[in-house]
């Protein structure tokens, strides 16, 4: 059995390192963006509009990944866009996780009225189409980073709540909970000391997944031009613009899309990788 487990551990390790590696690169880019981006992301130059990436004919040196219809450098805008993406991911992701997981724990462990009320709210929330709800919220509150974060939290807390509640309920029926009660532990103490450690692996996996989803929601919002602020470059803004000029300048859409693709994928796989690596039960 020893050799068999080592093989699976390697395979999981790769997933952790690849996704972790990409995220680290991204964080480095976000921190160093102003210094490392070749061009000023906001500087427009109509003469250099829609230049193809460097390897294609008609490319201009210095514009590695080409320019968009207003002549702005695609590469620099991607680097700059990573700041907002990560900012939204970390803040919105963690906030959603804290609110959703707490409500889920309370509903799943204490059951009774708390469970009924929270579950009723979850049902109502799930009746709203999430994207429409987000767009409506931002439109009403007004654009800006805080309103986007509020929108993400208000929509996605139910994802955490549902999963954590189910997990807390199954763990609640195990004998070690009754044993803690027999040992004289208070209900709240049992939730924190006994149930929480068993739910944390799931929460960690969901947290990183949520960070990826937060970026997607931010991208969708900027796609329907409700993004953070009209001029700041965001991946969503670039994708929206790329979509309209897809036949003339496909590279304006492809590169931010690839970066977005890798980031969201890394976020979801990183959580799973962490869980497989550090969860004592799975080791």
């Amino acid at each position: 059995m020893r050799e068999h487990r080592k093989k699976t551990k390697q395979r999981l390790g790769i997933r952790l390192w690849l996704s972790g590696g990409w995220l680290l690169v991204l964080i480095a880019i976000a921190l160093l963006a102003p210094w490392i981006s070749p061009k000023n992301p906001l500087e427009q130059d109509l003469f250099a509009a829609r230049l193809p990436p460097f390897w294609m004919a008609g490319a201009e040196p210095g514009f590695w990944l080409g320019t968009d219809s207003l002549g702005r450098d695609v590469l620099s805008r991607i680097l700059e866009g990573s700041r907002i993406a990560l900012l939204v991911a970390f803040i919105a992701g963690t906030a959603t996780c804290l609110i959703g997981a707490t409500l889920g724990m309370i509903a799943g462990f204490y059951r009774g009225w708390a469970d009924r009320i929270i579950s009723r709210f979850v049902d109502i929330w799930m009746a709203f189409p999430p994207v429409l709800f987000a767009i409506l919220l931002v439109a009403v509150i007004g654009t800006g980073l805080t309103s986007i974060i509020i929108a993400i939290v208000v929509i996605d807390w139910t994802r955490f709540c549902r999963v954590v509640r189910a997990e807390a309920m199954t763990q609640g029926q195990m004998d070690y909970v009754a044993s803690a009660q027999v040992a004289g532990q208070k209900r709240f103490g049992i939730m924190i000391a006994e149930i929480l450690p068993n739910v944390i692996p799931t929460i960690v996996a969901l947290l990183t997944l949520e960070m990826g989803i937060a970026i997607i929601v931010e991208t969708i919002l900027s796609f329907v031009n409700l993004s953070i602020s009209s001029d700041a470059p965001t991946w969503g803004g670039m994708i929206a613009e790329g979509r309209t000029s897809i036949y003339q300048a496909w590279w304006v859409l492809i590169f931010p899309l690839i970066v977005l693709f890798l980031t969201v994928l890394s976020f979801s796989q990183f959580g799973e990788g962490l869980k497989d690596r550090y969860d004592p039960v799975l080791r």
Binding site: D175, A178, S179, A180, V182, A183, G184, P197, N198, V281
Partner: protein, 271 residues
């Protein structure tokens, strides 16, 4: 508490639970009474066997005695104090004096806590001193190496996990321990080891035990008195010797005759 006062006095105990499967929307669910007018005492140092088929209510009786469930009628005295409807806050200080060992070693140990911290749990809660010392002592008493305190439950065998459950129960030196079918999930050889261990602990620490099992042979090995339950009622309560030599109730006789002994010549016809 005077010496001759029994550890447990159970008087006319009734318990009924709501049968959620039949719950209609309007009225509350019909009640099924699981324990019907149960009365018995447990003296200090005694090992009382509680035996019965599945659905006899033996597990429910055990959980009611240590107040994981609240009885509907009747009274329960623990060392002279009425704990029948004592609220949880007042019960808490008493809790370390009656502990429980669970049947399923897989679900009774927190999978993400190390063995050492599992045993220390009750000790910390009740403010015992020399906690890690007491934990190490408990590991020695159940015959597990002290190095096991750094391991996780899933790294141990079934028999070893059951010993951790026992170590946790005896760590606070309780006056009473409830053992609920603790060997049913184990192989014959680890069953024998765990039962021997328990018998030594009863002698060494002067424990008082209630031992729940469906297996009469296990009961005979360990218990001084036996209480036979059928559908929530006591059908027989007598010393172990008398129960095996001259069982008074038909149900006990039926139980005894049903057990296949490892002897081809045993007459075992269906009655």
């Amino acid at each position: 508490m005077s010496i001759d006062c029994p550890v447990y006095q159970v008087q006319n105990l009734h318990l009924s639970l709501a049968d959620m499967t039949q719950k209609s929307f309007f009225g509350s669910a019909p009640q099924i009474n699981i324990l019907k007018d149960i009365s018995f005492d447990i003296m200090k140092g005694e090992v009382l066997g509680i035996v019965g088929g599945s659905g006899s209510g033996k597990s429910t009786l055990g959980r009611t005695m240590i107040r994981l469930l609240e009885p509907s009628q009747g009274r329960i005295f623990f060392e002279g104090q009425d704990i029948t409807h004592l609220p949880e806050e007042n019960l808490r200080p008493l809790r370390h004096r009656f502990q429980m060992i669970f049947q399923d070693p897989m679900s009774s140990l927190n999978p993400r806590r190390k063995v050492g911290r599992i045993i220390e749990g009750p000790l910390k809660l009740h403010g015992f001193d020399r906690i890690s010392e007491r934990m190490a002592e408990a590991l020695d008493l159940v015959g597990l190496p002290r190095s096991f305190q750094g391991r996780y439950p899933h790294e141990l065998s079934g028999g070893q996990r059951q010993r951790v459950g026992i170590a946790r129960a005896i760590a606070t030196r309780p006056d009473f321990i409830l053992a609920d079918e603790i060997v049913s999930g184990l192989d014959v050889s680890s069953q024998a080891q765990v039962l021997n261990l328990l018998a030594d602990l009863v002698r060494e620490l002067g424990l008082t035990l209630a031992f729940i099992s469906h297996d009469l042979a296990v009961i005979r090995r360990l218990c001084s008195r036996v209480l036979v339950l059928k559908h929530g009622q006591i059908v027989e309560l007598s010393t172990t010797e008398r129960l095996f030599e001259a069982p008074s109730s038909d149900y006990t006789r039926e139980l005894l005759n049903a057990i296949p002994l490892p002897d081809p010549d045993q007459i075992w016809a269906t009655n």
